[in-house]
């Protein structure tokens, strides 16, 4: 139980350290204010500014007329000032979207015309990348509008010329108009686009937590320099107890800070962290375990505060940059995004974005397990390092 007293002592010291307390409490609040003033304006601009022309990727599996009308007449001609249409194979489009080479794409199913004409359900698959909510919304609205106008258009067309549908006989069946003629789906039917504000609230949040970990670890190293660590080792305290106490103290501080950031951005700026409260809570805990584990690992290796200050500063900046806290993750190639999942902040940010997009706990379970697993792995390495250090050459 000595680790509990060690953690309590660390919390007491942090509470009395004005500089650390400011970093913990005031800086996140300041961050929220900066986000509010900077990104808040950006969000307003997002709503008001004229839309830049963008490319819509199209996979047309349908041989009927209506898909041609939608793509050629509606998107290519009527919306030519806003949209440029390019045609792809399905795999090619998926890859383009995945690589963020395209922001929006649609896949028109082979029964598109027939289903519309017969009043049955059909699907246009809408693919989009996060943070391009406006482009996706435009495409979605155009398709919805098109589907609603089909009954009229179809009748007019039928009267003017035969429509090739595969069901030449029937124009409309009974019940037409009672059912929706068209269902759009995005990549995931439950996925919601993530706004800039949401993205940076999460990105800055994870970056600040890294800074808090650095702050906590520097006190751990200071203990080594001031002989307090040696004195602790001369008591009945064991290495596992020592490291557990350090990690627990760090985790409590980090949890407090993340709580302030999440609640602060939610209440003050209405940032939507997703509908899964349990997902946010569990992922936050997992992230804190991961980051704290990495922290105590660093603390077990580094002996002087001077060398840690350099390593801590560079390490935090590099991790923040790679983890997506400075520039959005989608500008990185896929393999970089994958690798950043091994960074506590990278994995946490990607999972927070998933939660904001509507993911449930079950979907983020691998991320939770990975995060906690990495944290425990870091802890174990730190423990081995401390034990080895004593047996070896400590002077």
């Amino acid at each position: 139980m000595k680790f509990l007293w060690l953690a309590w002592k660390d919390l007491l010291l942090i509470a009395r350290d004005k500089k650390a307390f400011l970093t913990l409490i005031l800086m996140p609040l300041l961050l929220i204010a900066i986000l509010g003033s900077a990104l808040g304006n950006m969000m307003k601009e997002d709503e008001d500014i004229s839309i830049k022309k963008f490319t819509l990727g199209v996979v047309n599996l349908d041989q009927g007329q209506l898909s041609k009308v939608l793509t050629e007449e509606v998107f290519s001609k009527s919306l030519s000032k806003q949209i440029q249409v390019k045609y792809y194979q399905e795999d090619e489009l998926n890859k383009k979207i995945k690589d963020h080479k395209l922001t929006v794409g649609i896949i028109i199913q082979d029964d598109f015309t027939a289903s519309l004409m017969s009043g049955e359900e059909t699907k246009v698959k809408l693919l989009s990348v996060p943070d391009t909510v406006i482009n996706a919304t435009i495409v979605q609205n155009v398709i919805e509008q098109f589907s609603r106008s089909i009954p009229i258009e179809a009748v007019v067309s039928q009267m003017a010329q035969p429509v090739q549908t595969g069901n030449q006989g029937g124009i409309m069946q009974e019940g037409y108009g009672k059912k929706p003629l068209l269902n759009e789906t995005t990549i995931d039917a439950k996925t919601k686009p993530v706004s800039s504000f949401q993205y940076y609230a999460a990105a800055m949040g994870v970056m600040f937590l890294l800074m808090t970990v650095v702050q906590g670890v520097s006190t751990m190293i200071l203990e080594k320099e001031q002989d307090v660590f040696n004195r602790l080792l001369l008591t009945n305290l064991t290495y596992p107890n020592y490291l557990l106490g350090k990690m627990l103290g760090l985790m409590i501080i980090c949890l407090l800070q993340v709580f302030i950031i999440i609640v602060g951005t939610s209440l003050i700026f209405g940032v939507d962290w997703g509908s899964s409260v349990s997902g946010i809570v569990i992922m936050t805990f997992a992230f804190v375990v991961n980051a704290s584990g990495l922290g105590v690992l660093a603390g077990s290796f580094i002996k002087t505060e001077k060398s840690f200050n350099v390593a801590g500063m560079f390490g935090t900046q590099i991790m923040a940059a790679l983890g997506g806290s400075m520039v959005p993750l989608y500008v990185f190639p896929n393999w970089v995004v994958f690798i950043t999942k091994f960074l506590p902040n990278g994995l946490a940010l990607q999972t927070y974005l998933d939660l904001m997009s509507g993911a449930t706990v079950s979907k983020i379970l691998p991320a939770i397990a990975g995060s906690i697993g990495l944290g425990l792995f870091f802890f174990a390495i730190g423990l081995i390092r401390l034990s080895w250090e004593r047996r070896g050459k400590y002077a």
Binding site: K2, W5, K9, L12, L13, R16, D17, Q226, D227, V228, N230, R231, L232, L233, L234, T235, N236, L237, T238, R390, R391, K393, Y394, A395
Partner: protein, 314 residues
Amino acid sequence: MNMLTVQDLRKIFGKFEAVKGVSFAVEKGESYGLLGPNGAGKSTTINMITGLFPPTSGEIHIKDIDVVKNQKQAQKWIGVVPQEIALYQSMSARENLKFWGRMYDLSGSALEKSVDQVLEIIGLSERAKDKVETFSGGMKRRVNIGAAILHKPELLIMDEPTVGIDPQSRNHILETVKRLNNEGMTIIYTSHYMEEVEYLCERIGIVDHGELIASGTLSELRETIGDHSKIILAMDKERFNPEQITESLTTFFSDKDFQIQDQQVMVFHKEPQLILTDFIQSVTKTGAKITSVDIVEPNLESVFLHLTGRNLRD
């Protein structure tokens, strides 16, 4: 019964041999001093005894417990006062003591009682609620000692506990150590202040360059230099001529019996009052002007000088 037994203790860091086969034993209730200049190997020896790091070779037993093999078991019997102030500065004296008490498995009323007793012993009951960072160096040193005796150890190991403090605090600490020893606590006291070791310790080990070069009671150590006192004449710089003084002194004394250092001339003799007049006349006839005369009884400083050819604080 031995409280501590150290046998052929060695510690090598890379190519540097910090401790070279040190052996000594301390009996229960005894106060043992380790005297030596800075860098002599005292702290390294202490760190191995406390189990902070393992020896390269050799054996350490506290009571019958092998410190190398059963470090945590042995540490229950010892309290360690480190050379540095190893306390949390933004916590009060009481908070510090309570924290360290908990690290020694104390809790509840036993912890409260022990903290109160220790605060009384170190004379800080009235400042118990003040943060350590507001204390003077001497007061911090007292809390540093307090944190080591909360669990009532049988062996108290103190590594230079009076470095850099005022005389009043130093006296208080020395009295505290004396009191603890009188109450039955075994003490190992390292210092490069010979007067502290002389005052506190029944037996003394002199350490230099990683070796224990002498060990015994104060009188036993004095005997190694033949119980000679030292007469020191301090000179005025302007008319000080070492060659002429050497020539003059050799008419009365052998080369071994006198030393000239800086503007001081020293003569060693069992009965200094018998040679004082001749000594002064020999020096003054060279034209030198004497500014002070001092007669020093044989002490650890002269023992160390005799054994190593250097002063303790060189």
